[in-house]
C-alpha cells in the first residue's frame, strides 16, 4: 500500500480569542490590523489527524489548500514545517466578499484539481466566523459523504475510514467509504510542533507573490528545488464561474453590524448591610421573583 492522498483545507484567521481594547475602531468596525493572523485552531487539529495517518502509512501525502490573500501562504509554510508535503493558495481579488457558499464553491473546484484523493480534512469551523458550514458544503459540492466533529481517525484502509465523532453529550463511531470529507473537532489531539528537519527544508518555500516581493533572489534555489514553490491559483486556474464568487455569488449579505455595547440599566448598588439585604429579599418575594 502506497499510503493516502490527503487534502487539508485550512484558513488563516485573525485571532479573535485575544480581543483587546483597540480591536474595535471608533466607528464600530473591526480593526483587523490589531489582531495577529494565525492558523485557524481546528484546522491544526485537522492537520494532526492527517499527520497521524501519514505516520501510520508511509507514502501518504498531505497537501494544504487555503483561500485568502497572498500572506496566507504563511500557514501553508507552517503546515510544511510540521510535516505536510506542500500546498496551494487559492487567491484572487475576485474571491473577496465570498460567503460560505461561494467559498465552498471555489474550494471544491480546487480540491477537484487535486484529484484523485482519498480524504479531505478540514477544521470544524474558523474562529472568525464560527459557522462550521464550509466543510459540509464542500462535501456536498463534491458529492461526497461527510464526517463532522472528528476526534480520532480509528482506522483507514483503501475502501473505508472509521472515525470517532464528538457530539454534545457523547461520542459516536461511524464508518464511511472513501473518498470522504472529514471535519476535525477541537477535542481531537492538538497539532505537533514544527520539526527541525522540515523547518530547514522548507524555510525558503515561497509563493510567486512572495518571490516577487522579496529583495533576495530565490530564482536559482527554486529552480534546483521545485518543491519549494507554493503554487497560487486564480479564478481562471480553478475554472470558476465569476458569477458564483465574491459578493455577487454570495446569497447572504450583511445588512448591519453593531459593536457590542451593553447599555447600562438603572442599577441599584447595595453595600450588603443587613437591612438592605432584608429589603431586597422582601422585594423579590413581593414581586414573585422568588418565594
Amino acid at each position: 500500500m502506497k499510503g493516502f492522498k490527503i487534502v487539508l483545507l485550512a484558513k488563516q484567521v485573525p485571532d479573535t480569542r485575544n480581543v483587546g481594547k483597540d480591536t474595535m475602531k471608533a466607528d464600530g468596525t473591526v480593526n483587523r490590523a490589531a489582531l495577529p493572523a494565525i492558523f485557524n485552531p481546528e484546522d491544526l487539529n485537522g492537520l494532526e489527524l492527517a499527520l497521524r495517518i501519514k505516520d501510520k502509512y508511509p507514502g501518504t501525502t498531505i497537501n494544504v489548500l487555503t483561500m485568502g490573500p497572498a500572506r496566507a501562504a504563511e500557514i501553508i509554510r507552517e503546515a510544511m514545517y510540521r510535516g505536510a508535503d506542500g500546498g496551494y493558495l487559492v487567491t484572487d481579488r475576485k474571491f473577496a466578499g465570498s460567503d460560505t457558499l461561494a467559498t465552498s464553491y471555489a474550494l471544491s473546484l480546487a480540491v477537484k484539481k487535486l484529484s484523485p484523493f482519498h480524504i479531505v480534512i478540514a477544521g470544524r469551523q474558523a474562529i472568525d466566523g464560527d459557522t462550521a458550514q464550509v466543510g459540509p458544503q464542500v462535501a456536498e459540492k463534491l458529492g461526497l459523504p461527510q464526517i463532522t466533529y472528528a476526534e480520532e481517525i480509528i482506522s483507514t484502509d483503501k475502501k473505508e475510514v472509521t472515525v470517532k465523532r464528538r457530539l454534545e453529550r457523547g461520542v459516536e463511531t461511524v464508518a464511511a467509504p472513501l473518498p470522504v470529507v472529514i471535519t476535525a473537532h477541537s477535542s481531537a489531539p492538538g497539532c505537533r510542533s514544527r520539526h527541525a528537519k522540515y523547518t530547514i527544508k522548507y524555510k525558503n518555500a515561497k509563493s510567486l507573490s512572495e518571490l516577487q516581493e522579496s529583495s533576495e533572489d530565490y530564482l536559482q534555489l527554486h529552480k534546483e528545488r521545485p518543491y519549494l514553490l507554493i503554487e497560487e491559483w486564480s479564478v481562471d486556474d480553478i475554472g470558476a464561474d465569476v458569477g458564483q464568487l465574491g459578493l455577487s455569488g454570495s446569497p447572504t449579505k450583511v445588512k448591519k453590524i453593531e459593536n457590542v455595547v451593553f447599555t447600562s440599566k438603572e442599577s441599584i448598588v447595595l453595600s450588603g448591610e443587613d437591612s438592605e439585604v432584608d429589603n431586597l429579599m422582601k422585594d423579590l418575594i413581593a414581586n414573585h421573583t422568588i418565594g
Binding site: 459540509p136 463532522t148 461511524v174 445588512k255 453590524i257 459593536n259 442599577s267 432584608d278 422568588i290
Partner: protein, 339 residues
Amino acid sequence: MDNIFVYCETDEGQVAEVSLELLTKGRSLADLLKCKLEAVVIGSGLNDTERQIFPYGADVIYVADDKRLYPYTTLPHAAIVRRLFEQEKPQIGLFGATSIGRDLAPRIASALKCGLTADCTELEIGDHTETRTNKQYKNILYQIRPAFGGNIIATIINPDTRPQLATVREGVMKKEVLSPGRKGVVKNIDTGKWLNQEDFAVRIIERHIESRKVNIKNSGVIVAGGYGVGSKENFGNLYDLAHVLGGEVAGSRAAVDGGFIEHERQVGQTGVTVRPKLYFACGISGQIQHRAGMDQSAIIISINNDPEAPINQIADYTIIGDLNEIIPKLIKYYQKNTK
C-alpha cells in the same frame, strides 16, 4: 409554497427542546407573514411526535418514519429535506444549531444554492432596500447573530435566494405551547421512494450518549459563580443559596477552567444560554462571552467586591462586598421573610 419549515430533531421519539423553541418562534413569524408553519420530522418510532409538535403551532407535519433514519446520519436526512424543500419551496427553513442541525443545514444550503446563517440569536421580519440598485425587498428574514468572537452583532439577510435558512442555538428562543389540543395535517413521506442505497453509505458502528444530568436551562433561579468565587469550597455557599431558592448552580468559563464547577453547568457563548427569572452573578466579572449567555435574565443580581466589574452594568442590583458574607445573609433574610 412560501411557508416556514422547522426541521425537528428527535431523541428516541422525543422531540428536542430546541425544535419546540423553533416551532414557537416559527409560529410567530408565520403569523406576521400570514403563511403556514410546517414541521418535518425524520427518524424512527415517531408515532407520538404529532402529539408533541402540533400544540406548538405547526399546521402541517411531514413525517419520514423508517428504522434506518435513527440515529441521525447526514445523507438520508439531507436527501429528504432537500427534496421536500425543492417540492414545497418554503420561504424560511429553521434548524437547531446542534451537532445535527449544523451538520445538515449547510448541506441543504449548498444543494439549493441558498443562504444560511449559523447560530442566530434573534430572528425578525423586516424590509430592505439595496442601496446600489434601489431594489426594494419586503418582509425578509433578519438573521441576527454574534460574530467575530462575540465582539460584534451582525444582521444577515438573504434578499434574493429562497429558502432563507438559519440555525438557532438551544435556549435562545422561548418555548411556548400555543394550544394543548391543537391538531393539524400529517403527511407521510414514502422513504422507499425518496431514498436509495447510496444514502446509507455512512454506517454508525457505536454510540455512547449520556443522558442529560443537570438542566440549568429550565431553572427559574440560577446562582452562578465566576473565578472570583476563589475555590471549589466557596462554591458550597452558592449551592446552599440555590438549594433554599429551588434553583440551580452555574458557572462562568473561568470557573469551569479553574476546576470549581463542571462544564455542563457553564453559562455563556461556549456553554448554555439561560433566561431565568433571577440570575445571581457571584464573583463574575462579566466578559462579553458570559453576558451573551445570560443577559436575557429577568433580574440580575451581581455580587462582587469590584464596583467596576463590567457585569454591574447589566445588573439590576449590585451588592459590593465579600460573597462569603453576603450569600449567608441572603439565605438568612430569605428564610426570615418566607416564614
